[in-house]
């Protein structure tokens, strides 16, 4: 009660004052009524003001009251300098908002534990070592038969879960014509129990739903999918959908927020692992193995058992495959891989691995911008503090303690920081989802659970407090150190203040240089990647990914090609196993005249006659495929192929072997990009879409269930034909259905979507950093001219020219800019090797990469110092001396 009333009294101190005054006054009135002399009474009573102060201090919380008073005065101070305050708040808001957004992304993608029971006890089995191609790496993929053996080996000591890579699949709730895409994961039935998940509707899968291959066509939906696709319809239980050739029944909906184990994608549907078509295939790796140790079991013995089981399984598999020579050696790499229990509390996804370096670098850039902003605001506050030196001197002379002055100035900083936090939160609320939505190409967006919960709030709060100290402490200590005598006399040593400000400017310039440098590297990377010649023409080309209910003979695919040629507006049609630049492909080692060609892979793509023409890839020699050509027998190769295997000599007429198949080269074409824009142009062999070899493990099997029609239209906007073409495919043959339509341009652009985003963000921050540095420089120069106007007046009076004055004004600031830029350069050079993998054909030592940031900083510095120089030159010596 007492504490509460004391807190309450802080905020109604006026009423408190009135009450005390009234009580004291009533005492005096009482005394007068008792017949005493009014003057004598007042004299005896003493100073009412002193008694009131004394009572007041008793009846409220002193420290809270002084804090309140400082808060009020701080706010008044902010209102007085509207423009500087606004500049400080907005720049800080941008920096805090950017930092919070970056934290939200990093947290959601890399740090936040999965929403499951005891996430810290989750591991995945990863293997370190050399891969089949001899390159070192980390591997997480397992075959189901291997998983079974691993699970059996550690039974009783650890629980193993099979969880497949999330995959976008075609499925339908009704007719085949209504196929739709959904993200699907095949999971062990025991996963739901082990993760401690609860159903919101129906039931979840259990171990008994995961026993016999093909016997458990059951599915559990994620809460997110249930909401998006079904509007939370409770009647969804019992509905069926067809996936591949099985009819699955929905048995339940898992509770939010669990949506799979791969941050960056949100799984829609979970089905039992045992339902996977490759569940018995020892050569197909499609799952990750998760592990949870039983209570009190040590990790190392379990790991050893797993390692032994893995080795035995792979040795057996190697023997069964009957490998010879180099293949056997390479397979030895796989057997030798070392198993590790990798903690995986935050989930595992490809996006984590892909984004970790760029996200980290982005975080560093954002922190640099924050530091620049802090230096900037600190400079503003120091300059303001100078203007308030008299006030501070007065406060000290009437008895304010040093700590009290620090508190006064810090309170003002806290206001700035809090207002900036409020604005910055708004910014972060908008920016984080925006960045997530731009990470991936639009047809396969990244989806990330981005909660704005206490973790984020705590981060923002700690950040704000930290920032307040960063930019607030220096000015506060500075202000509190005012010497009243010199301040009241009209000035202290002005140089000490400027030295600090100059140091801050140098710091700002150094960080600004770093940010600009990183931005120019990102922009150059994007420029180079997006302007790299592809070797084919993407304009007016549509790619129709098409699926058939079951594998269809090539003849039917050809029929559709012929049918599509008759559609008005269509110039050329061909079919291939997949479009160029989709990010995947098939590659293999080949041999020439029986000699294996190791070290260089050859990409393969199955294409129909006319595909080379439709893609406008240039023929160098030989001929296109004929309708009668099949794979194997003939192939068309590119120039990189000729260079790699035939020393650049025209290979038409020669032949090569892939496995047991021999290919005769009938054509030579110019290089075209195959899988990714970032890759060098690799040897590529185009083989006929019609394939006769059914023993081959890779895609082109004789009948095909999927392929991509390439349609070149006359219309510059090919998408206008999309709907017609979709219908025409099904009309030509009812078993076929278009599952996805994209323009080739879209596919090309999606290759650089991440680079574009990084370049965009880096450029944005570079502009902000440059702007801040410019504003900071201007502020400091303006202040120094203001402070030295007497000196400048005298100099002019005794004959200094405008030129001398200008040189004088910018002399020390330019040395600061130089020092800062050099420091930034040194920092950049020493740190750049950590991030070099992020860039494409861009060297940190390239002249433009260093020259552009330097030029930008010099230009900004010149621009920022112009107003101050003009101001200095315009000083009227007569007026200045008269004022003195």
């Amino acid at each position: 009660m007492s504490l509460w009333s004391r807190i309450a009294n802080v905020f109604c101190s006026d009423r408190l004052n009135r009450e005390i005054d009234e009580e004291l006054e009533s005492h005096i009135q009482e005394a007068i009524e008792h017949g005493r002399d009014p003057a004598e009474v007042r004299r005896a009573f003493g100073s009412t003001l002193r008694h009131r102060e004394e009572s007041r201090d008793v009846r409220l919380l002193m420290w809270l009251d002084s804090l309140r008073a400082d808060a009020v005065s701080g706010l008044r101070q902010l209102k007085k300098n509207k423009i500087t305050s606004a500049a400080a708040i907005v720049s800080l808001a941008l920096a805090i908002g950017a930092c919070t957004s970056a934290f939200r992304l990093v947290d959601a993608l890399l740090l936040r534990p999965l929403p499951v029971v005891e996430p810290e006890g989750l591991y995945i089995l990863s293997r370190h070592g050399a891969g089949f191609d001899g390159k070192p790496g980390t591997f997480e993929d397992y075959q189901y038969p291997l998983f079974r053996q691993l699970r059996g080996a550690v039974k009783g000591q650890a629980e193993l879960l099979a969880i497949s890579y999330a995959e976008r699949m075609d499925l339908t709730y009704g007719a085949d014509q209504e196929m739709e895409k959904a993200l699907l994961q095949y999971v062990s039935g025991s996963m739901f129990g082990s993760f401690g998940l609860r159903p919101v509707l129906g039931r979840l899968l259990t171990e008994s739903d995961d026993l016999t291959a093909g016997a458990h066509p059951l599915a559990v939906l994620s809460h997110d999918y249930w909401t998006r696709r079904f509007g939370q319809d409770p009647k969804v239980i019992g509905r069926t959908f067809r996936l591949r050739n099985d009819l699955y029944q929905i048995v339940g909906v898992a509770d939010a927020p669990f949506s799979g184990t791969e941050p960056g994608t949100m799984t829609d549907i979970f089905v039992p692992a045992i339902m996977h078509p490759d569940v018995g295939n020892s050569n197909s790796s499609w799952l990750r193995t998760w592990a949870r140790l039983k209570l009190g079991v040590a990790g190392e013995p379990v790991r050893q058992k797993l390692q032994a089981t893995y080795r035995a399984f792979e040795e057996e598999r190697g023997k069964g495959a009957g490998l010879k020579g180099t293949d056997q050696e390479r397979f030895g790499n796989i057997i030798a891989q070392a198993m590790v229990l990798q903690p995986a509390a935050a989930g595992v996804s490809e996006m984590q691995e892909n984004s970790r370096p760029s996200l980290t670098l982005l975080g560093v850039v954002v922190v640099l911008v924050l530091l620049i902003t802090c230096a900037n605001v600190a400079n503003l506050m120091i300059a303001q503090g100078a203007a308030r030196a008299r006030e501070m001197g007065l406060r000290i002379s009437i008895g304010a303690g040093r700590w009290r002055l620090v508190q006064l100035v810090l309170m003002e900083s806290a206001w700035i920081a809090m207002l900036a936090l409020a604005l910055g939160s708004l910014f972060a609320w908008w920016a984080a989802p925006f960045v997530v939505s731009s990470i991936n190409p639009p047809d396969n967006p990244a989806r990330l659970f981005l909660p704005a919960d206490c973790r984020v709030f705590l981060f923002a709060l700690v950040l704000t407090l930290g920032v307040t100290f960063l930019f607030g402490v220096l000015p506060a200590v500075r202000a509190s150190a005012t010497k009243p005598v010199s301040a009241l006399k009209g000035g202290e040593d002005p140089h000490s203040r400027r030295r600090l400000m100059h140091a801050l400017i140098a710091l700002q310039v150094a960080f600004c240089f770093l940010v600009l440098f990183v931005a120019s590297l990102f922009v150059a990377t994007f420029e180079r990647l997006s302007h790299r010649p592809t070797g084919f023409s993407a304009e007016r080309v549509l790619a129709l990914d098409t699926v058939a209910e079951r594998p269809q003979p090539p003849l039917f695919w050809d029929q559709i090609v012929d049918h599509l040629r008759t559609v008005p507006g269509v110039e050329k049609v061909a079919v291939a196993s997949w479009p160029l630049l989709v990010g995947y492909g098939f590659r293999s080692y080949i041999s020439i005249s029986g000699v294996p060609q190791n070290g260089v892979f050859t990409y393969f793509l199955s294409v129909s006659p006319g595909w080379i023409d439709a893609m406008k890839i240039v023929f160098v020699d030989g001929r296109d495929f004929l309708a009668s050509d099949t794979s194997p027998v003939v192939a068309i190769v590119n120039e990189a192929f000729a260079k790699a295997y035939f020393d650049g000599v025209n290979p038409v007429g020669k032949s090569f072997d892939k496995g047991q198949s021999r290919y005769r080269i009938v054509g030579l074409v110019r290089d075209a990009m195959y899988s990714r824009t970032r890759e060098p142009l690799l040897p590529t062999a185009y083989v006929p879409f019609q394939s006769v070899d059914e023993r081959m493990a890779w895609a082109p099997m004789a009948p095909r269930s999927r392929g991509t029609f390439i349609v070149r239209t006359y219309n510059p906007n090919p998408l206008t034909l999309a709907l017609t073409l979709r219908q025409e495919v099904t009309r030509a043959r009812a078993e076929f259905r278009v599952s996805n339509i994209r323009t080739q341009l879209e596919i090309n652009e999606s290759q650089t979507v991440r680079e574009r985003l990084l370049a965009m963000l880096a450029l944005f921050f570079a502009v902000v950093a440059l702007l801040l540095a410019g504003v900071g420089l201007y502020g400091v120069l303006h202040y120094s001219v203001l402070q030295r106007r007497h000196e400048i007046g005298i100099r002019m009076a005794i004959g200094a020219q405008a030129r001398d004055i200008a040189r004088h004004v910018i002399a020390d600031i330019s040395s600061m800019v130089l020092v800062g830029a050099l420091a930034g350069l040194a920092l950049a050079m020493s740190s750049i090797r950590y991030v070099e993998t992020l860039f494409y054909q861009v060297k940190a030592t390239d002249l433009p990469m260093l020259g552009l940031p330097s030029l930008a900083i010099v230009a900004a510095a010149l621009l920022a110092s112009l107003p101050a120089v003009i101001q200095a030159v315009r000083i009227d010596p007569a007026e200045m001396l008269r004022a003195e």
Partner: protein, 87 residues
Amino acid sequence: MQLHGYAIMSAIQNMSREVLRVEEGSLYPALHRMEEAGWIRAEWITKTPGRRARMYELTAAGKKQLDAEESRWQAVTAAVNRVLREA
């Protein structure tokens, strides 16, 4: 019993037959301190229209404190008396 500040002061002076004189202004900070400690509680009472007085009253905690202070006072004075008699 409720008394306002002036009455408390008068009472002390009367009871002590003018031996103890209270310094008028300092009475109020002392009262407010005791109020914050919870030994007394205060209440505004309108005596005549337009004039209020703040009336103070001893609380249970105050009574306990008074007893403690009184026994301490007794002990101290007794000790002082003993010292004086010995001398």
